[in-house]
């Protein structure tokens, strides 16, 4: 039935879009604060999938059987380790280039991306890896006449809850804490922020840490959902999340989330109703169309040249 397909594809789109949105946050926040596209961010997401598997194996080895507790521990530990990667990249690769030409950090980012991929390939092997599925089962939402409307697995439910909850928490942090205020001030005028006593280098590092932690949430959730991954997954997902960030208006935090959802939903509808093989073509065509009519994305601000 058409309605059932529509509902199912909406759900799939929301799940896909939420993960794009989580990863897009890293692109958009880094761009907002230092005006650079961190093309190594997709690899950070890839690393987090491996970290997830490693922590699951470690916890399993120590005999932790309680699934919810295990998931929570893996989520937090993966966020922490992945955030360290983000912090480390900024510290060794980007900070020394601050104040150089705009192209230098961009090329560095591409180089880092290759280094991370090969580091994972060498240390973990080139073959696809997998984890056993931990959460099995699903809900079915039915219509009044017992007709099935949507099928939603426990893992998908978890993805939706965790993704939206973490976006909400991040939004609250950015708008209602002094750390968030300092981040936004640094983003708007880095020199003025430092004149006021804000350690802007620390704030920039914090933004990398937040971006990596959000990508790690996506990494844990997607890994739980699909079960398999390889050293190459960061590339396409990274490009998609970057597209989401541009679509929503790069530099804008709600824009990244919105862009992720729009991209996820449109991919999902296109696969469901038109042709699954061309979903990427459709996604990027959408980007082109939006950029023609709204060059700064849905929620972005037009570039104002500062004098």
């Amino acid at each position: 039935m058409e309605l059932a397909i529509l509902a199912q594809q909406t759900l799939n789109g929301l799940i896909l879009g939420a993960t794009y949105g989580l990863i897009a946050i890293g692109y958009t926040m880094v761009y907002g604060i230092i005006g650079m596209i961190n093309f190594a961010h997709g690899e950070i997401y890839m690393v987090s999938a491996y970290v997830t598997a490693i922590f699951l194996a470690v916890l399993h080895y120590f005999g932790l059987a309680n699934v919810p507790l295990m998931l929570l521990a893996v989520l937090l530990a993966t966020m922490f380790v992945t955030a360290l990667y983000g912090w480390f990249l900024e510290r060794i690769a980007y900070r020394p280039l601050r104040g150089s030409t705009r192209l230098a950090p961009l090329i560095t980012a591409i180089g880092l991306s290759l280094i991370l991929q090969n580091y994972v390939r060498l240390s973990q092997g080139a073959r696809s890896q997998g984890i056993p599925s931990l959460l099995q089962g699903s809900f079915a939402i039915t219509l009044g006449n017992d007709e099935r409307l949507v099928q939603i697995t426990y893992v998908q439910t978890l993805i939706i809850i965790v993704a939206f909850l973490s976006m909400a928490i991040l939004t609250v942090i950015m708008h209602h804490t002094s750390l968030g205020r300092a981040c936004r001030a640094t983003e708007q005028d880095r020199i003025m922020a430092s004149l006021l006593g804000i350690d802007t280098d620390r704030i920039i590092a914090t933004v990398f840490v937040i971006g990596a932690a959000m990508a790690a949430i996506a990494g844990v959730l997607v890994t739980l959902n699909y079960g398999s991954f390889d050293f190459h997954i960061g590339f396409v997902t990274g490009i998609k999340a970057f597209t989401a960030a541009v679509l929503g208006g790069i530099g804008s935090l709600p824009g990244a989330m919105l862009g992720g959802l729009v991209l996820g939903l449109s991919e999902s509808f296109f696969s469901g109703f038109v042709n699954a093989d061309y979903k990427d073509v459709f996604a990027f065509s959408l980007l082109v169309l939006v950029l023609i009519f709204r060059p700064s994305g849905f929620l972005g601000h037009p570039q104002v040249v500062k004098v």
């Binding site: 002094s178 205020r181 300092a182 936004r184 001030a185 708007q188 005028d189 020199i191 003025m192 922020a193 430092s194 004149l195 006021l196 006593g197 804000i198 350690d199 802007t200």
Partner: protein, 253 residues
């Protein structure tokens, strides 16, 4: 100047400070002092290096020669974000408020220099001096008028309870009435010791093109020409100096 200076070291002292923008020398061996409780003004034409001098105090650009002392401490090589916690607050050229944040958030950012443990002036105190900011506290700062933005930039600076308030052309782009208001405010802030829990003996270093009004409220003044100090004296003396009159006050000698 009198008693205060002879007793204690100056609050701010520049000794032969030079600074460069790339290969261009913006300041050439500037020496000047500001004492606690004083209003000192620096006047000079566009491009004389006035704003550069203020930014050099904060290490942006960093002084290429000489020494900057604040309350006896050498701050020449401190990172920018470590300067304002010592008690310097800048109202910079062009105000540089954060347009996308609310008035209240802008004011709160001024408190950063004090860290989490030191209490700054109360909002009530600020709002009695700047009633318009209270009305607008939930508005985005970018929607304020030029004069209101200037008030906000001053209020933000006062939030850090500065021992030295540095103002870069607070009158620029404002209507004459607003300029009078701002100058009256600066004077009253110093006369009241920027009271109500704020530091006693706060000094003001006022950089202006609007030489007449600046010299009228200043205890002392310096005249900056092409990156060097050309003249110095009390506000009154400079007001009556023929060279100053001719160059900056628009009066024929």
């Amino acid at each position: 100047m009198g008693e205060r200076t002879s007793l204690a070291q100056p609050l701010l002292a520049l000794q032969e400070v030079s600074s460069h923008y790339g290969p261009v020398r913006a300041l050439d061996r500037i020496s000047l002092t500001v004492n606690a409780g004083e209003i000192v003004t620096l006047i000079g034409a566009n491009g004389a290096g006035k704003s550069t001098l203020l930014m050099t105090l904060f290490g942006n650009p960093r002084a290429s020669h000489g020494q900057i002392l604040f309350a006896g401490q050498d701050i020449t090589h401190l990172p920018t974000h470590r300067i304002s916690p010592l008690g310097l607050a800048l109202v910079p050229e062009g105000r540089r408020i954060f347009p996308g944040m609310t008035v209240l958030e802008n004011i709160a950012l001024g408190h950063t220099a004090l860290g989490n443990h030191r209490q700054g002036p109360s909002l009530d105190f600020l709002y009695t001096h700047f009633p318009i900011l209270k009305e607008r506290q939930r508005q985005k700062a970018g929607t304020l008028s030029g004069g209101e933005q200037q008030m906000l930039a001053i209020a933000r600076a006062l939030m850090s309870q500065p021992r030295l308030l540095l103002l870069d052309e607070p009158s620029l782009g404002l209507a004459p009435m607003m300029i009078r208001k701002i100058f009256a405010l600066i004077r009253s802030l110093v006369q009241s010791g920027i009271q109500s829990g704020v530091q006693p003996e706060t000094a003001v270093f006022l950089v202006e093109q609007n030489a007449h009004q600046a010299l009228q409220i200043a205890d002392r003044g310096y005249v900056l020409v092409n990156g060097t100090i050309r003249l110095t004296g009390t506000g009154h003396d400079l007001l009556n100096n023929p060279e100053v009159k001719h160059a900056y006050l628009g009066t024929l000698v």
